[in-house]
């Protein structure tokens, strides 16, 4: 991983984490399906965009770790273990699905690109949900009860549907804006932009926590 990619991880991870903290909490307060929206629109868009423009395996997991860290260590809203675990899980699942994929242009049909959006978003959402349900009790020193998870499995599979559908639109949109390639910026502009935007994301998240609570 070179410095350019590390700066990309910092920027897009911070952006993702900020949106999780601000937009995600807002959607939850409005009783909207925050998890599906955040996975289908934000997570899939961020991860697929960076995979396409940087063409680097492992970068998306790095971004998920930065976003999870922002969610987890945000000093003013307390530790949100479940969300952080879910975000990192999404990064791991994305890496697994896109292991051999770096460019959507290798597909001839838009239906295939849309299908990749559906598969990525649906599996990231239900995978994140499942991993969270298993790991949260463990990290919280509570006994994990598999019966609770099995009984709720149909609900998890059902809730993945809106995330999957949003993922279709998300990936088609990313495919159409792929020409806006941040990785091609000259170094004298790239580093100040990425670092300062990442700092702004962290400041906005903390400010939001202080003002909104």
């Amino acid at each position: 991983m070179n410095r350019r990619e590390l700066a990309g991880i910092l920027l897009f991870g911070s952006l993702w984490g900020m949106l999780e903290c601000i937009l995600g909490d807002f959607l939850r307060d409005q009783n909207l399906p925050a998890g599906a929206i955040m996975t289908g629109l934000v997570a899939v868009a961020m991860m697929s965009y960076t995979r396409i423009v940087f063409r680097k395996r492992g970068m998306q997991l790095g971004m998920a770790m930065v976003a999870g860290l922002l969610r987890l260590t945000n000093p003013f809203t307390g530790c949100l273990i479940c969300s952080a675990i879910s975000i990192v899980s999404e990064g791991i699942i994305f890496e697994a699905i896109w292991y051999k994929l770096f460019d959507l242009r290798e597909f001839r049909r838009p239906a295939t690109i849309a299908s990749m959006g559906m598969i990525t978003s649906y599996l990231c959402y239900i995978g994140g949900f499942l991993v969270t349900q298993v790991l949260t009790p463990i990290v919280s020193s509570v006994a994990f009860n598999p019966n609770d998870l099995v009984a709720f499995l149909p609900q998890i599979l059902a809730r993945g549907l809106p995330a999957g559908i949003l993922g279709i639109f998300s990936i088609l949109a990313i495919d159409s804006v792929r020409s806006y390639d941040i990785s091609k910026l000259k170094s004298r502009l790239y580093y100040p932009v990425t670092i300062s935007l990442a700092v702004v994301c962290w400041i906005l998240t903390i400010a939001n926590s202080l003002l909104v609570g």
């Binding site: 809203t77 479940c82 295939t112 019966n147």
Partner: protein
């Protein structure tokens, strides 16, 4: 060249088939969830087969405010310990409890956790030491695991 084209065509068809399968899984799960959804009344909570009126619960006991150590937020509600006693559960410390929401979401906790938990006015359970994943919303049932 044709072979490469055929390989790509096959790969694309596989991807589309997987997406169609997942779409189908999502649709069938939604149909199943809606078909089996219990029409639970928000006026009652079933505890070990006994129906307790929500009004009865909230008029019988004084609400208590707790702070969740993870979210650092304060919540006010009736202690779950009192509700279990109101339901007439004998030797409550010897059992585990599965708390079930109207959407089927459920979490099983021990008596030690129940003692630090409350039921809020919005019928959500909150525990002092457990993460948000344990805050079951719209509680309709508490099963006693013997």
């Amino acid at each position: 060249m044709n072979f490469v084209k055929m390989m790509n065509w096959g790969k694309e068809n596989t991807i589309i088939s997987i997406a169609m399968f997942l779409l189908l899984v999502g649709i069938i799960s939604n149909i199943y969830v809606h078909a089996t959804k219990s029409v639970a009344s928000s006026d009652f909570i079933e505890i070990d087969g006994k129906k307790l009126s929500v009004n009865e619960i909230f008029s019988a006991y004084e609400p208590k405010t707790i702070q969740n150590v993870i979210t650092k937020e304060n919540y006010t509600g009736i202690p779950l310990e009192d509700i279990i006693k109101l339901a007439g559960i004998k030797n409550p410390e010897t059992y585990s409890y599965t708390i079930i929401g109207s959407d089927g979401y459920r979490k099983t906790v021990k008596w030690e956790d129940m003692k630090s938990g409350i039921l809020t006015k919005s019928l959500r359970v909150v525990f002092e030491n457990l993460p948000k994943a344990y805050m079951v919303r719209d509680v309709v049932k508490i099963e006693v695991i013997k």
